[in-house]
Subunit: 396 residues, 2 copies
């Protein structure tokens, strides 16, 4: 039920024909009343048309509905694509009888092709009539592309409810600006009465940092989008930016993102194993994340993970290639409980227990740079034969 | 004959036992007299012991010999590794009866294990006795690791001869500082009477830019090294920095590097196809190279290349993810002669000729950012099932 777990949110997901497969490919998420909104979007220099539209609309701080199609990304489509995204909003506003300017649009799929608006037109009456307060599951299914399964999370902070869903199995290595993220799509909802300013702070401090630490292929998409909507249906006093309440809500949203992020890497294209890199001792959080991403993005680490090969030299190489300055002789790393880098050196021979640690379904690498308070957790996955299969015949 | 094509250079390559396979794994390159030298080395924060040694020695501007083992990288080996590298230089100086301080050391192979110095000791008499003025082929074989074949080049500039060889099939995505480069090893020789200052300029302006535009897996190694030696055996007036003669020699060295770079990506781990990305219209050369590397490093582009899948959206995504600022609406790209990005948009439908262009053994993508004079060429390769096989069982 995810995005419809918080009170006052309705959703639906149906098959409209955007995908050749006949699987669900059109979703609506609707708040019963106006919701405050904040977002984070891709920093790719070719932002998709819906990203360009949503970026501006999110600045207004108010939204009522989100419409999503999967099959075409509406990216690389120029001015015509912008008109199509705008038309999707207008058509959705009309079908839901809400202000079209309060409709956000997300698209995911192949880059290049136009959105078939006639499919939007045909699908909207059914999708609009079908929105329900338990429609989160259908919505979460409809937004998928190469994903094997839906990713959903729900949690609470006191009386507030927080829900979320995400899609994305490839082209994932978000570099999000907090006014604009990949073809990672993440929808977060809460019935807390939070202001748009509070939501912006929460996206910046609690949601974007999680998603910027997720990598499948280190490829920031044209369409990456994280949206957080708060409709206040849970009641209580307003949650304003900079308050303890906003922080509590933020931590809850962050926990939901952690849950979803773990689901994303577990379901990534061809993924058979998860790599969690916990970095400590960096000068700041950004540096810690850069080190973690360098390790989790390395094809050499990812193939070693696939093969269960405990090759500490590849960890050392990747940490050193991060571009982050640190004292090399102070760096220590553990694979599970086995030290695989000890004050800048690799144990020779490598302890046999390292092979056991690499054989796990979820491999945890802890890195301590011993140089400061900065910490971050990065989620990645292996690089498998299935990944090559899936991506060598995506459009054909 | 490559590195021994220029007059006054001798080389040998033998099996010393560093590799379990029994293939050649120990090489010597010797100049008959003192040679001027310049180098470029990895910027990885964990530089291998031989890199640390050579970086200092190259500053002195004089070298007489290079000793190379393949099997162990002598990286991640701490102070003991530094002592081992130093010992290799001393032992080699002694065997060749040259100043040990004029001996440079290169290692490539697994990160972590110590160099078995007893093998160096046993091998040196035979290797030293075997150096010949046609030993370039043997040397080029002995430095290989996962390479399928040796990479050699030779060319001339007037009466000067330039020779070179390279090794490296994986952990290749050099980010070289021109005082220090990957486990790419590149050895360049010339008999031009060039000063060390002229060689530094040539490495900076003509050699390093080529190697920084080569990517197999975007992984800058702990051991990347480019060395350029000039012994003056070709005679004629001295070639000093900043002169037309140095430029001519530099262009010739650059041409040899281009030749070797193309051989490296063709022989990269699991490589079945080559991608050449020619970027024009960037603000400067660095920006052009960044755009090219973003495309050639993308796993989505690399798998599409493997599959022969003409997916222009992946080119668009990668260009946009480069981090280089440009006017997205001005960007045009061609796959062979087929426009696959036209002023920021992707043709819909994709012309069928794009599939033919992607099916070639060497695929050329030209990108014009239409924003300045900066240009660069980047060499990459596909991501294949063989790559996954090779790298999922490297140490085991």
């Amino acid at each position: 039920v995810s995005v419809t777990f918080p009170r006052g949110f309705l959703a639906s997901g149906i098959t409209a024909g955007f995908k050749a497969s006949g699987r669900p490919d059109f979703g609506l998420l609707v708040s019963e009343g106006d919701a405050a909104v904040a977002g984070a979007f891709t920093t790719n220099a070719f932002p998709a048309a819906p990203v360009q539209l949503d970026r501006r609309r999110v600045e207004g701080g108010v939204a009522r509905a989100v419409v999503v199609n999967s099959g075409q990304a509406n990216a690389g489509t120029g001015d015509a694509g912008l008109e199509d995204a705008s038309s999707m909003a207008v058509m959705t506003g009309s079908a839901l009888e809400v202000d079209p300017a309060a409709v956000l649009v997300c698209s995911t799929g192949v880059i290049g092709p136009r959105i078939p608006l006639e499919l939007v037109d045909t699908a909207l009456p059914k999708a609009a009539a079908g929105v329900r307060n338990d429609g989160g599951d259908d919505f979460a299914e409809a937004i998928l592309t190469t994903d094997r399964r839906a990713k959903q999370a729900q949690t609470t902070a006191g009386t507030w409810r927080v829900g979320g869903c995400a899609k994305g199995a490839g082209m994932i290595g978000p570099r999000l600006a907090t006014h604009g993220l990949a073809t990672l799509l993440v929808f977060l909802t809460t019935d807390a009465p939070a202001s748009a300013a509070a939501l912006r702070e929460i996206v910046r401090d609690f949601a974007a940092p999680v998603w910027n630490g997720v990598t499948v292929d280190a490829c920031p998409s044209t369409n990456d989008t994280v949206l957080l909507l708060a409709n206040g249906a849970g009641g209580g006093p307003a949650v304003e930016a900079g308050t303890a309440e906003a922080r509590t809500l933020g931590e809850t949203v962050g926990a939901a993102c952690d849950d979803l992020a773990r689901q994303v890497v577990a379901d990534a294209e061809g993924s058979s194993k998860t790599l969690v890199v916990q970095v400590n001792g960096a000068s700041d959080r950004e540096s810690a994340r850069s080190v973690g991403l360098a390790v989790a993005s390395s094809p050499l680490v990812k193939t070693a993970l696939f093969g269960g090969d405990p090759n500490p030299g590849r960890f050392l190489q990747a940490i050193g290639a991060s571009g982050v300055p640190f004292d090399a002789s102070a760096v220590t790393a553990w694979l599970g409980d086995v030290a695989v880098v000890d004050r800048g050196t690799v144990p020779d021979p490598v302890p046999s227990a390292a092979a056991d640690a690499m054989a796990a379904r979820e491999v945890v690498l802890r890195i301590d740079l011993n140089g400061g308070p900065g910490a971050a957790t990065v989620f990645g996955c292996d690089l498998s034969h299935d990944y090559v299969d899936i991506n060598s015949r995506y459009t054909t």
